[in-house]
Amino acid sequence: MPFREGPLGDLKVPLTWTAAVALIVAAVIAVAFLLADRRETLQEQAYGVTRQTVDVVSRPVSGAIAAPGRWTGLGLDFVRSYFFTASENRRLKTELAEMRQWRDRALDLQDQNERFKSLLGLRTDPPIPMASARVVADSRGPFANTRLADAGSERGIEVGNPVLNERGLVGRVVGVAGGVSRVLLLTDIASRTPVMIDRTNARAILTGDGGPNPKLEYLRGVDPIQQGDRVVTSGDGGVVPRGLPVGAAVKGLDGRWRVVLFADQSSIDYIRILLFKDFAQLADEKQLEAKTLPPVTTEDPQTSILSTPSPAPKPAVTTTATPPAATTATPPAATQAKPAAPKPAAPKPAAPKPATATPAPTGAPR
């Protein structure tokens, strides 16, 4: 029996009301999705299979759509270089002359740096491997700033890897699938990056807000920043390596310190993904897992505190030094107790003593 001929055939439900009920159900589902979302945690588990699938499907589609734009850009570059060759040549010559001075300066500093490093026995971080990729899609809205890159897990990319272009830091990887990865930009509202002011070493947290210039929050210190200061990553927390260029500091219209990103100075078509997970990967694990530990040598408190110290070898000529000075007369002990040693009242002994063991003639006891 058809529905309309049945007993419920005359029942007429107002369409607006049924639409309202459908609206409420849909809204409840949307709220549930929003509450269940853990995007801001930026964890690997929070990037679900659905997102990975959409990314995998989007990559070839967006890649095909982006290709004509890229070719147009390349064509425009070619035309521009053809018409502006003379002026560009002049500009490049000027720049080259300036760069030569910087090159000499850089070589000098590099040499100096190497010597200091060898003197201090510093261990520098090994180079971090990188993977290059092309951006195929990007979102620029106020609530999400991400980019889709055409390299994924098959290249060793993992969630958390920092992303750079040729000018500076772009963001970090928040989702990876086969052949594609999602990059959260520094400008995204969920982005937090530990940075420092290069000039003063003042620390801050670079906080995105969906606009082009992220904010510098939790800036510490007295007068830590000036207009134009270079901002680099601090490496605090081990999220990104230290010293990656980020941008230049500017004071925003709202009176807050913001950063003009270096990465924005060029198109972010090509990016480099640092295969950096955390600082543990920079250490040599084999050395860390050494079986033989160095011997633990501690002082015997009975001998160092309670017992009388052994008499020090006296110098050939007896001085009028006070007893405490006499106990610290041995060269190593004298070096340690140098500030506490009183100045000898008598003329300096003729004994061949190391210079470091004698208090400075002009130095008053502290």
Partner: protein, 171 residues
């Protein structure tokens, strides 16, 4: 204006096709094109069906269509899941409540209504983002997206005009 005679309006025509076109336009405008340092704008194309579907007729399927569209935007743009779904449903609910006041008004007036509804949607998105991320989005970025979205009214007008009288049961 097309007349479909006495046949019921096929949901694929007035719901499915605009939804697919919105997705396509969103993907197109996500191309990383930068000409002389300027990027493409990023309008919320889904505002067009959110406004037009409620104007055409109340429907059970339309809210779920908007939910799907919103979820697609969130996942494709990499934002919080459910943000745009909820914001678009706010727009739909608003137009559904006010449709009696809007119907039959002049084109500029309808444009103003569209801009108003878009503004409310952006404010809703702003508040939902604040609650979700516990941070305040840039007002300038929100305003810029509102501006480019408000320019999409001709598409919404075209959609309303196309299907307003398409089903004789809703005249």
């Amino acid at each position: 204006m097309s007349m479909s005679g006495g046949r019921a309006l096929n949901p694929v025509r007035w719901l499915g096709v605009p939804m697919a076109l919105c997705m396509l336009a969103t993907v197109l405008f996500a191309a990383p094109i930068r000409i002389w340092g300027l990027q493409l704008p990023e309008p919320v194309f889904a505002m067009v069906p959110a406004f037009a579907w409620a104007m055409i007729r109340p429907s059970i399927l339309a809210p779920f269509g908007l939910l799907v569209l919103g979820l697609f935007l969130d996942i494709f743009w990499g934002g919080p899941t459910g943000l745009w779904g909820l914001s678009l449903l706010v727009a739909y609910a608003m137009v559904l409540i006010l449709r009696n006041a809007m119907t039959g008004q002049s084109r500029p007036m309808m444009w103003a209504w569209f801009a108003g509804v878009t503004g409310i949607t952006m404010i809703a998105g702003f508040l939902f983002t604040m609650l979700d991320s516990l941070a305040m989005p840039s007002l300038l970025a929100v305003f810029w997206q509102f501006l480019v979205t408000a320019l999409l009214f001709p598409f919404a007008h075209r959609l309303v005009d196309r299907f307003e009288d398409a089903d004789v049961r809703f005249r």
